[in-house]
Subunit: 386 residues, 2 copies
């Protein structure tokens, strides 16, 4: 290596999240062929572990060979045809992205909007379903741009009542908050590897219900994307093992190891850990006199959005965190640029140590900006003691 | 790790190819953020190194966040709109794949076909260009399914004479055989990382000429794929650094290291190495009394196709190579299944040691099938001595 070693950043932004050394080591194992019998066993294990984290028995449960956005595109391009109607919930960047993708595919998009920072309204969704009888309802469970948690309970039943498929973006929740695909009646759910699963970015876990698989068979036209065509991809991941594209071997090693870590911890224990560290962080932030962007009952555990106090230079403060503390946090996107910070406590990054560290680093960095806050650490500590 | 270590396979199939330990180590470095200033430097280095291996000064030269087939889809989805005509050369699986992709995008595909195992005919291509005046001409430089090398000289001039863009698939040639993008007048050229670049699979290097970039600006409709929209992707890789999707950080580390190895060896020296090992392998195969599938003047250096002798059980022999020798070679695809073997000597796998090993392992495995060949090693040795 001719360049100096990269510093091990403390990744407390909206992703990627910190990656366990076991996962990094798995990635550095020798590459084998994508049709090697040993690799086929690894694929089977990955599918089994993904069913566990998605809480589903869906046969078609695999990682797409692309990042979370490729998972989003795979969901939409497989289910939608030109002229289909899609009801899409939009309350942040990722809902907007879904609508953009669906329109590019020639679908008619009916959007149900909520203010950024607020969840979508169930009645507005039902009105749209009743009026439009769409092919699908798509929305974001964990809006990474705002920190809002969208309650998923009853949404499957609602969508199915109007003969629509339910598509859910769980990029920033899978592995960190409950995503019970079968119980919620989700037809297609996708995620990314670099959030609460704490694997490097590059794969998009996705699962299709039988209802969604049936949809593939009733299309009038071929799926516009060959690369994301699930009817071809499932022949490689399923019993036929027929070549589609060369699987990203090393990333699959990494994902297997990351998923094993989830299973070893236990999914419910992992959710509780994310919840606890989130609550401690919020207690600290509020004790410092800062304000959370999202109302208490709609906050994600994995991604915390904090309002930037008046008079603070967003860029300068984040640069200070990076250069003085080696900590990455995220800024706001679009209309929230300069208005919020996004603090991720995801996967291996969701620890008491990180909560204490970021609270103190924020306090000191705000001080450097001329804003004097009390420490938030005692308040956080009380959450852990309780 | 709870499972036994994977054996380090000797990868002499159609890809993935063997990966240098330096590249594996690079991949296991700590993950940093996709907007971290340190990562932006790495991106710049990767782009510069890709320009070198593509032999181009094209500004828009980046790795797509998907495998080689995602590169193919990126080329076509960015250039084609519904109703456009595409002339596509088809003389193997990957030409067929291009045509399938273009049709899915709503383009009218005019195919120029050659028998599998033969190159495309330049006159037939020119006839099609003259008659159809297509948006683009697309063909495969190195047909991984047949082992045929398509001469690229003059193709750019030819395509441009008829106002068509030239798209070239260099998945199995880039880094192992001359791919001089600027000199040949190629408008879009893409590859995969897991062939002659000897990086794990997962990224697709791609380059767009200024003429191809202009095409993006004259489209009537948005690009159907958001994930592969080069006008958005270039904003992240270019000066704006605006977020599109989370880059696959660890794979980019790996690609940088793999490209550094190419630069250290020197591109021309690397081409010569691939040529020499190919010639030695062929001399050995022919001395054994076996037959190459492709005529001498049209053979790839990176992927050798060998006719399977009458009476040999293809699957059994390849299984023997894998279990007795730890060697992976490829079988034939589609109509060539059971008729040819595909022996890759790509990237780090293109060595004298591997040539000698596979010749001997083939001889012994054929013996087990009841076919008695002389050794090919002396003939190969003579090539190295010459």
């Amino acid at each position: 290596m001719t360049t100096p070693a990269l510093p091990a950043r403390i990744l407390l932004g909206p992703g990627p999240s910190p990656v366990d050394a076991r996962v990094l080591r798995a990635m550095s194992r020798p590459v084998i062929g994508h049709l090697d019998p040993l690799f086929l066993d690894i694929m089977d294990e990955v599918q089994e572990l993904l069913r566990y984290v998605f809480q589903t028995s869906n046969r078609l449960t695999i990682p797409i060979s692309g990042t979370g956005s490729a998972g989003m595109e795979a969901a939409l391009v497989n289910l939608l045809e030109p002229g289909d109607t899609a009801v899409i919930g939009i309350h942040g960047v990722f809902g907007e992205r879904m609508a953009d993708m669906a329109e590019r595919l020639g679908a008619r998009v009916v959007s149900v909007r909520a203010e950024w920072g607020r969840p979508l309204d169930l009645e507005a969704i039902e009105d749209a379903l009743r009026r439009e009888r769409p092919r699908l309802l798509a929305l974001v469970h964990a809006e990474t741009s705002t920190g809002v948690h969208q309650d998923l309970k009853n949404l499957g039943r609602l969508a199915h009542r109007y003969d629509a498929l339910l598509v859910v973006d769980a990029v920033t929740s899978l592995g960190g908050m409950p995503v019970r695909v079968d119980e919620y009646g989700i037809d297609v759910c996708y995620s990314g590897t670099q959030k609460c699963l704490s694997c490097p970015p590059g794969l998009a876990p996705i699962t299709f219900s039988e209802r969604a698989v049936e949809r593939l068979g009733t299309r009038r036209r071929k799926i516009q994307s060959w690369y994301l065509d699930m009817s071809l991809i499932e022949k490689y991941w399923g019993a036929e093992r027929s070549y589609h594209h060369t699987a990203p071997i090393s990333m699959i090693y990494a994902l297997r190891e990351a998923l094993r870590l989830v299973r070893e911890e236990g999914l419910e224990a992992r959710w509780r850990r994310h919840e606890l560290n989130h609550r401690a962080f919020v207690a600290g932030i509020e004790a410092m006199g800062l304000e959370m962007f999202v109302a208490r009952e709609h906050r994600l555990w994995s991604l915390n959005t904090v309002c930037i106090p008046e008079g603070v230079d967003d860029q300068r403060l984040r640069k200070r965190l990076l250069t003085h503390y080696n900590i990455e946090i995220g800024g706001g996107l679009g209309p929230l640029k300069g208005r919020i910070w996004r603090v991720g406590l995801m996967g291996a990054g969701s620890t008491r140590e990180n909560v204490m560290l970021i609270l103190e680093a924020l306090r000191e960095s705000l001080h450097a900006e001329g804003i004097h806050c009390p420490s938030g650490r005692e308040a956080a500590e009380r959450v852990y003691q309780a």
